[in-house]
Chain length 313, copies 2
């Protein structure tokens, strides 16, 4: 099983934390007392991606690895958690170059976000089976840890950045295009808001990451919090607007329904202003009631049939 | 996506811990301060199983679920960890009865070992793809946490039970047989030594679970600890001996090379005797040097070509 041994050696290069026990033991062992910084909670999240469902066979393997880790890091960010480590469950593809490129991308994203590899499992698949990968991320957070629930009437709703770039990047990728590079990169190499989440967690009433689209995720926050949410501003990505030249209400609504931006959506109590060094965009407000509504340029806008991206669409 | 919603509802029934946030949030959140009992370490382990590689399409789904959780619980046991929770990454099979049976088996094993479901991910596979499942288990342990390394010359080597029953059960299953039931059950529903691991962890120099066979796992402990290990007794399962009627050296050696027993192998310092209420079997001793040797009935026994079970064999 030499390709397995070769891949595990690549993983061992990433498993530099003592908690990983050099991937030689039955389990990873984290000393919780060493977290320090007042963190009292462990945050756990896991995502599985499958070839042909969540990524395409000809996607660059380094980008697939980046995105898998970034998606999990975004969940940690939504909890205000500091990455502590991750487990990688990997299915060998029978293509050592592919596996090596995946490991390189994984090393890049784990290095950037300081999330050491602690363990996991490597398996061989039956011939012809699609690749599938699971990454499980652990973070530490101070309590209380924000949830989707908790938004209150009177809260202002903020986003940590813009929307639409990743969705446009997906369309470009599907069309076999690689330009504009900023849009493709937004789709393939999302930058989870780990630092921002950690700074915002103590301030918010509710927080979540926007993975499927601003409108659908805002409607989920409204439902979990049992409140009404009004979106009155859609901060469209500059790169998207420059490329499309379209700033119509329809274009803004489309960006608000696009997935994969991985910004944080948060409800801040009235009178609480976001830290000046965080690039927050005010997108709406929370009211008593239920459901989602959209008002742009001062006018109510009918909700589109699909509020966001759903796998299987 | 109604079968997905139905399956997630089954999972929600198992996710009764507050840390699971009813599977409605972006991540699970564990209050580490609530562990109590002096536990300062988080133990993490994860296994992926694939249809056609680690289990067969006609294996009972409830047993597949049991075994997946049990294998992870055995890794926690080897660290002396108390189960805290788990994440389940599930690939829908398109067969709701199969999925439901899997969920029932999962509920049984999680209930027996008090390991609540905290989260995970449910994905749809492309048509015809093999099922694959990942379970990630978390436990809490007091430090220092045992490792495979650490065995010292003069230590006595113990096993928490017997060997060979699960390997015989696997052969029976492959031959389409369901009797003797005790052997089949040993293979399909292993009973990880969680209680024993927790009691033994403060006493041992080294500990690991025996998943691939007594001889191969003992040789791994010898290598990790940089010592020699002599196995001088093979405690063959009563049910296996009663069925085979064979207590020859060859039969005992075969049982020592059989996998899937999930007992704990531990090195106890000289003069430290195991607690009387734990069913420990003395199997050998640790000496200066390197490598594994076997002596049965007072005679050196040549090592077999294959010391244990390896996936892919």
């Amino acid at each position: 099983v030499s390709d397995e041994a070769a891949f595990i050696a690549l993983m061992r290069d990433l498993a530099t934390s003592g908690a990983a026990r050099a991937l030689m033991d039955d389990a990873a062992v984290l000393d919780v007392a060493a977290w320090g910084g007042g963190d009292t909670h462990m945050v756990l999240t896991s995502d599985t991606i499958v070839e042909g469902v969540h990524f395409l066979p000809d996607d660059p393997p380094a980008d697939i690895a980046w995105k898998l880790a970034a998606v999990n890091l975004s969940d940690l960010a939504a909890k205000g958690a500091k990455p502590v480590g991750c487990l990688m469950n990997y299915s060998l593809s029978g293509d050592a170059r592919w596996d090596t490129a995946f490991a390189q991308g994984l090393g890049q994203v784990l290095g950037k976000y300081a999330m050491p590899l602690l363990g996991g499992d490597t398996v061989r698949m039956p011939t012809g089976a699609p690749r599938s990968f699971t990454l499980t991320a652990m973070g530490s957070a101070a309590g209380p840890v924000p949830a989707r629930a908790g938004a209150k009437p009177g809260d202002a709703l903020y986003l940590t950045g813009t929307v639409g770039a990743a969705g446009a990047g997906l369309k470009l990728c599907r069309a076999g295009k690689s330009e504009p590079a900023a849009l493709v990169a937004a789709y393939r190499r999302p930058q989870p808001r780990v630092r921002e989440g950690r700074a915002l967690a103590p301030l918010v009433h509710a927080m979540m990451d926007v993975s499927d689209g601003l409108l659908i995720d805002a409607s989920r926050m409204a439902m979990a919090s049992r409140v009404a949410i009004i979106i009155d501003h859609v901060p469209v990505a500059d790169a998207l607007r420059a490329w499309s030249g379209d700033d119509s209400i329809a274009a803004r609504l489309s960006a608000a329904c696009a997935g994969d931006d991985y910004e944080l959506l948060l409800a801040l109590p009235a009178g609480c202003f976001p830290p000046a060094d965080l690039p927050l965009m005010r997108v709406g407000e929370v009211r008593a009631g239920s459901g989602l509504s959209v008002a742009l340029d001062g006018e109510n806008v009918p909700l589109p049939d699909r509020l966001g991206y759903l796998h299987g669409d």
